[in-house]
Symmetry: C2
Subunit: 233 residues, 2 copies
DNA sequence: CGATGTCTTGAGTCCCGTCAATGCACGTGG
DNA sequence: CCACGTGCATTGACGGGACTCAAGACATCG
C-alpha cells in the first residue's frame, strides 16, 4: 500500500488512532483492490481468507437459504469494515452494489496484527458493538413491523447513513439521495417482495410523503410524517 | 466478590484467560446479584449503568415499539455477557426468564478495566462477533423463513444451546429439554403470534417429529426430519 | 426504434394474524 | 375430595396483509 496517512477514510476507519509507525506497518500488510458493481468479494460458507476496509463504494452483506431465498443482513459504506476476524468461515457473502474500492488484508495476518495492537482491537470492538445494535434494531423491524413501517424506517436509515458518509464534516440526514439498492434488494433487506416494496413506494408518493424523480432517487418531502410512519421508538 | 477462581463459569465467561492477579482485581469491582424470574435487570433506553456476566439462569434480551409490540433479540444463558459496554444508553431490555444469578459491574468501571486489559477486550470482541453471527442468522429467519421453518430452527437451536450450558464437558445437543420460554415469548423470538406457535407445535407433534410431555417440555423424536424442516444451510 | 431489464399495477390466493371459545393444569378454599 | 378460579395453551372461524402470478408501463441503450 502506498501511504495510509493520505487515505480518504483515514479518520473514520478502524485504522484511525493508530500511531504513524503502526499505521505504516499495517499499511504494508494490506493492498488496495477495486471491485466492480455486482462482483462478490467473498461467499457465505467459504473459508474466511480476507478482511477489508471499505475505502469507497457500497456493498451488501447477505445470507441465503439452500433454496435461494436471500436476506440482506447489512449494508456497508465507505470506512466500514467487512469480513469475519477470528473465524474459520465467512458466515455471509459480501457483494458490491456500486463500483467499490477496498483495502484488503489476509485474515490471519490481520488477526495477528490486531492481537498485538489493543488500540485496533478496541476500535474493532466498538464497531462490532455498533453493528450488533443495528442488527438488533433490524430484528425488531423484521419480526414486528408492517410493510409501510419497514419502508419508512429504511428510507430514514438510508437518509441518515448516506448523510454520514457523504461528507466528513456535515453529518446531517439527507432529504434527497440515490438508493444504492434496486427494488429486489430493498425487498431482501426488509423481508418483503419486490411488488410489496413497489406498492409501498407508490403509496408514500401518492400521499405526498416522498417524491421519486427517478427509480433510484428519493426525496423526503415530509420527514415528520415519515418518522410517524416508521414506528420508531 | 468472594473468590473468582471458584466461580462456576470461570472457564467459559469472558474472565477466562485472565491472570490470577487480574482476576482478583476484576473480582473486587463486581458483585453478585440474584434476580428472580420475571424481573427486568435493565430497561431499553435507560442509561447504560451496568454490565454483567450471567452466572446462572436464562434471560431474554428484547426491544419494543412504542405501541408495545415486542421482539426478543437474544436469549442469554449461563456464562454469557449482558449489557452494552462503551455505550451511553442500553439499546435493549434484559429480563430474567428463570431465577438467575449475575455478576454485575458498573459499566464505566468495567469499560476502564477492559481498556487496560487487552486480553479481556479480546474475549469480549470474540464474543460480540459470535453474537453478531447469531443475530445475522436470526435476521435470515425473521426475513425469509416460514412459520414451520422458524419453529424447527428454534427447537434445534435451543437443543444445541441448552446442551452447551447444561454441562461443561458434554457439548452434545439434547433430545429432551425444558423450554425457558412460554408460548408468547416463543412468538416474540420468532416474529409470530402465540396461536401460530401453538398450531405449529401441534402439527409437528401430530407428524411425530416431536413429543410434548408437558407445556414446556420438548422431546425431539426425529431430529433428521426436524433439520429438514428448518431450512438450514 | 425495438430490445431488454426494471419497475409498477392488477387480480387472486394463502398464510398467518385476529378474535373468540374451549380445554387443561394447578392451586385454593369450602 | 371436589367445586371453582386463574393462567396458559389449544383449537376454530374468519379476515386481511403480504405473496404469487401475470400484464403492462417505463427507462435505458444499443
Amino acid at each position: 500500500m502506498k501511504d495510509c496517512t493520505q487515505c480518504i477514510v483515514r479518520n473514520r476507519a478502524i485504522c484511525a488512532g493508530l500511531e504513524t509507525d503502526e499505521l505504516e506497518l499495517l499499511g504494508r500488510l494490506g493492498r488496495k483492490q477495486k471491485v466492480s458493481k455486482g462482483q462478490t468479494v467473498f461467499w457465505e460458507g467459504d473459508d474466511a481468507v480476507v478482511v477489508a476496509n471499505v475505502i469507497d463504494g457500497v456493498l451488501k452483506v447477505s445470507m441465503s437459504l439452500p433454496d435461494g431465498r436471500e436476506q440482506i443482513v447489512g449494508i456497508v459504506f465507505s470506512s466500514d469494515f467487512i469480513g469475519r476476524p477470528f473465524g474459520q468461515h465467512s458466515p455471509y457473502s459480501v457483494t458490491a452494489l456500486t463500483d467499490a474500492e477496498l483495502c484488503i488484508f489476509s485474515r490471519s495476518t490481520f488477526d495477528n496484527f490486531a492481537q498485538q495492537h489493543p488500540e485496533l482491537e478496541h476500535k474493532l470492538l466498538r464497531r462490532t458493538l455498533n453493528e450488533l445494535d443495528r442488527a438488533h434494531a433490524w430484528m425488531l423491524l423484521l419480526g414486528k413491523k408492517t410493510a409501510t413501517e419497514r419502508i419508512a424506517t429504511l428510507l430514514l436509515e438510508m437518509s441518515a447513513r448516506l448523510g454520514e458518509t457523504g461528507c466528513t464534516i456535515d453529518n446531517g440526514a439527507l432529504d434527497a439521495f440515490e438508493l444504492p439498492l434496486d427494488r429486489q434488494q430493498i425487498g431482501d433487506v426488509l423481508g418483503l417482495t419486490i411488488e410489496t416494496v413497489s406498492r409501498q413506494f407508490s403509496k408514500l408518493k401518492a400521499e405526498g410523503v416522498i417524491h421519486l424523480p427517478s427509480r433510484r432517487t428519493v426525496c423526503i418531502r415530509d420527514r415528520t410524517r415519515l418518522q410517524g410512519l416508521s414506528a420508531a421508538a
